[in-house]
Symmetry: C2
């Protein structure tokens, strides 16, 4: 037996296996996940495992290594979040999100820090040796809402899109603020005296850390898009680039002490559009699937490790400090949301209701990021108290808030996510309004979001697409694109209506219709189709489509390590196009 | 700047990135890969990089760590090879493959070892200090054909399936022999005296190492299949199990000093059939894609590292020893193939032609496995000579043989791989002959391959499928399955014929036809379809299909981390089945 030799990969594989099996186990009983969030169950599994390890070895089980967390477990989750981020609601609410993320987090840090310092002054609590700076440092790590915990809970309660993006966006973007404040206070703790210059330098750092992250992310994202222009002959390694470049952006940002989370999100959002257009459909399925899989495994491991690390002798218990930490976390967040929303609502037509405000305040869950940060603290005599307080806050928010938020959402009748996707009619109106508002903003000289969106779109089609896309056609006008979209939608409608109305149709067209529907990834798949098309339009469409669309692509026999079955032969397709053209003439 | 912190993941990511970019680079110029095999180009890139590192640091660049090679780079390639192994030709030729792998490898080891010992006796070569045991040890590591190198070359020359599987199967299965002989001779080198008991124990080990590997692999494979029965609610982690269990089987085998390669191949071949039936189509695409991607990257890294490691001061040059090593490798392999094939041809109707024999002998490429093994040798004064000889043999086989094999195959007009898949007619005949031969063998009392295949199929449908498959219907007879297959094939034919013959068809049926064709993974996609169906059969089929097949599945809007868009709703489908049944009554 030679265990030493294979120990590292063997243990890693076993941990991942344990996590996956735990996940399967929960889903075997359908009732369990609908009552208790998965994160709670996983922490519970972790607690049991930690207890077993503690009982067997009679010493504290190993705590989750901060390096492992920040370098290996966090990036997949953030990448997944960034890649699947619904960009429209995100950019529509970017102002509010930034306000919550920056001002709200600073508010919480100082609020919690100062009020805990106040508690420390009460003599009977025996906490007078905890200085103001230490309290602020603690505040800076406990104030930040955790994206992993928020995602785990909010994904299951299906609140409306705006509410979701407000909480989730805040949890992602506050990373820059947390990084700066945490590092600032930690360096202040080690300095003998603090000059006012240092404070101003700290404020300047906000912008460097945040905007630097965005820059690093975007540059890696565009490089990734550019690289996928040249992968036509080796489709199998296409998904790799998506992962490699995003990870490099994260690591590079971390290397320069910028915000890695912001970097990887910018990278994912920047490259998504171009990469999707360049890579094959199968590569894209693989990218999406693997991202989900990886983030799901990471997230499971994080919660299990969180449970395991809780057990042990790392804690110093002090009732008043710990209780007041929990209370202040709740109170300051609630106050912050109230005050900030008051200002937000004054400048917006589409206001945030008081129910939404309650859910935003209540959804401020803490998680593994706080936990990793508290273990990274320099050693000082009260570190164990901070660890205990952080653990309690995390467990309280994940268990108590996480388990009660679903019933509360039901009770308050918070506006839910709209289950059906917008119809084509709605989409046309939205597009029309966007154009109209961009025009109004341009004429009135107000540089609002529609103006910038229009400019960005222009810049994109004029320059970026030419550089980053492989098969770049002339930029089509919106109206042509919309026509194509409608055409495909009707093809699908007909395909479905035929089932019910027994209409006779040209077979090639129907196959093509199905082909189109499966090749069009973003638009059609999300739409509910009507069951009753107009027969006149039907005949007309039928003819148009039969003339213009191409037959189904088939796969040839192939056994090669560098290609997958299904890469279509362009020569055959070109011939087909020729034949169809010839016929129509 | 904090490089230390992110060094490990950063450098790994950069190496992978370099490998992928090198791959893209080669494929940008279409002419290059058709003349020079990719493996040569990659070694060349490695040589250049090694030269740069050597030039900058003025010391030998780091050699490829054997642990990294055996634990991280080799498993993905072998997994890919095992998973995509064409099982029919493999099991049809298993006897011949085993003969080459076991007897052939032993023949080569002793042949090369003894004749090199003879060379060492020539006084003018100054090699008298190399003992017989050391020569045999060297023989055991240089004799084995390398699966990575063989795959890289044979995938591109498209020889006929039998020839391919003979060389490739041998390269995979000789691992058990190599492991045993290498470890045996290494332990003999360290023993003071060798008893005849030890030699017999060595022979017994063959069976333990080989069969143990098969057992470990199969048990993990069946566990994997069993696990995927329960992943219905969490599709995203399905692909994970395929990778985790295969890797665990490899590590477990390595831990017990069994053959890891044999284990992972058995695991992949054992689970493939059941896992494919249990997991969703998208999961399966991801599994296939990721396997290809991973093995492709591993293989690229191996060749680059091979190049990098060649540069440096690890070599001791001795012209006679190195030249004679290359000559003996070629001669003994050629002799071995000739002699073994003589016996094989006496017992088979379908003989191996002399052209095939030449390609088998010539295709015995050496690669990274020898290279890693030679670095694992215990330190003794002639180790550097062995390293130099191994490097030369690898470079000679990969460059000279690898680059000339394609012109030779053209020149000799070796039978090529059949490009088109067998037609349904051929398939029916093959199936019929299998049954017939199984019956003949049963009656005549001869337990040949058909008899065992039939028994295994019976055992599979009677017991294994019930345990391992999620949706297990009653075992259907072959004829029903064949009927279903034909039905689908006709559906596709019609779909295509409609394009050309303008036949009118029921639309729902055509969509269903396309659906079937895309849901049937193994059979239809490989077949060339005829363009001229009989109109009477067409009408008939049309009616049958329109009544029996279901409409296309659509995806609903979903934004959730644990599900992907596209998991169909079973409720709707059940309703549809009900409606169709109702109509047909």
């Amino acid at each position: 037996l030679d265990y030493q030799h294979v120990q590292v990969p063997f243990e890693i594989t076993l941990w991942i296996m344990l996590a996956s099996l735990a996940k399967i186990g929960f889903h075997l009983y359908n009732k369990l996940p609908s009552v208790v969030p998965e994160s709670c169950l996983l922490i519970f599994v972790g607690l049991i495992m930690g207890g077993i390890i503690y009982g067997l070895n009679d010493r504290s089980p190993p705590v989750m290594d901060s390096d492992i967390f920040f370098l290996y477990l966090l990036p997949p989750i953030v990448l997944d979040a960034g890649y699947f981020m619904p960009s429209r609601p995100f950019f529509e609410n970017i102002g509010t999100i930034l306000l919550y993320a920056v001002v709200g987090t600073i508010w919480n840090v100082f609020g919690i820090g100062f009020s805990l310092y106040g508690i420390c002054q009460v003599k009977s609590f025996r906490l007078q040796d905890v200085s103001l700076l230490h309290n602020l440092l603690f505040g800076s790590l406990i104030a930040a809402v955790d994206p992993v915990a928020v995602l785990a809970v909010f994904e299951e309660i299906h609140v409306n899109e705006k509410l979701h993006i407000l909480v989730f966006g805040e949890s992602l973007l506050n990373d820059a603020v947390t990084v700066v404040l945490y590092k600032l206070f930690r360096s202040f703790c080690e300095m003998p005296t603090i000059k006012s210059v240092d404070v101003f330098a700290g404020i300047g750092k906000f912008f460097v850390v945040g905007l630097g992250g965005v820059l690093v992310g975007l540059s890696f994202g565009f490089t990734a898009a550019f690289t996928t222009r040249f992968t036509k002959d080796i489709r199998v390694i296409e998904p790799l680039f998506v992962f490699l470049y995003s990870y490099l952006s994260y690591l590079t940002a971390e290397m320069f002490h910028l915000s890695g989370i912001v970097a990887i999100i910018s990278c994912a959002m920047g490259m998504k559009r171009y990469v999707e257009a360049n890579i094959s459909l199968k590569s894209h399925t693989t990218v999406k699937y693997f991202m989900k899989m990886w983030s799901s495994v990471s997230d499971t491991l994080i919660f299990i490790f969180l449970g395991v690390s809780t057990i042990g002798e790392n804690h110093e218990w002090n009732w008043p400090y710990i209780c007041f930490t929990v209370i202040f976390c709740l109170v300051w967040r609630a106050l912050g949301v109230l005050v900030l929303t008051f200002f937000v609502n004054r400048f917006h037509v589409n206001t945030i209701t008081s129910k939404d405000q309650f859910i935003i305040a209540y959804g401020g869950l803490r998680g593994a990021i706080c936990f990793s940060l508290v273990f990274l603290l320099p050693d000082f005599h009260r570190k164990k108290l901070f660890i205990a307080a952080t653990t309690v806050v995390i467990l309280f928010t994940v268990f108590v808030q996480g388990m009660t938020i679903r019933p509360l959402v039901d009770l308050l009748a918070v506006k839910r996510k709209r289950e059906s996707a917008p119809t084509v009619g709605e989409q046309i109106h939205i597009r029309f309004l966007d154009h109209l508002l961009a025009g109004i903003e341009d004429i009135s000289g107000h540089w609002g979001q529609y103006y910038w969106k229009d400019k960005l779109e222009y810049f994109n089609s004029k320059y970026l697409q030419k550089i980053l896309l492989r098969e770049y056609d002339q930029p089509k006008s919106s109206i042509v694109l919309l026509y194509e979209k409608l055409e495909r939608k009707h093809a699908m409608e007909l395909a479905q209506a035929g089932q019910l109305g027994h209409g006779l149709a040209h077979p090639s067209f129907l196959c093509s219709a199905f082909l189109c529907s499966s090749s069009d990834r973003t638009v059609i798949t999300d739409q509910k189709l009507e069951d009753t098309p107009n027969p006149d339009v039907l005949d007309n469409m039928q003819e148009i489509l039969a003339r213009n669309l191409y037959r189904i692509r088939r796969t040839g026999p192939a056994y090669n390590r560098h290609t997958l079955p299904g890469d279509s032969e362009p020569a055959e397709r070109a011939k087909e196009i020729l034949i169809l053209r010839h016929k129509s003439l």
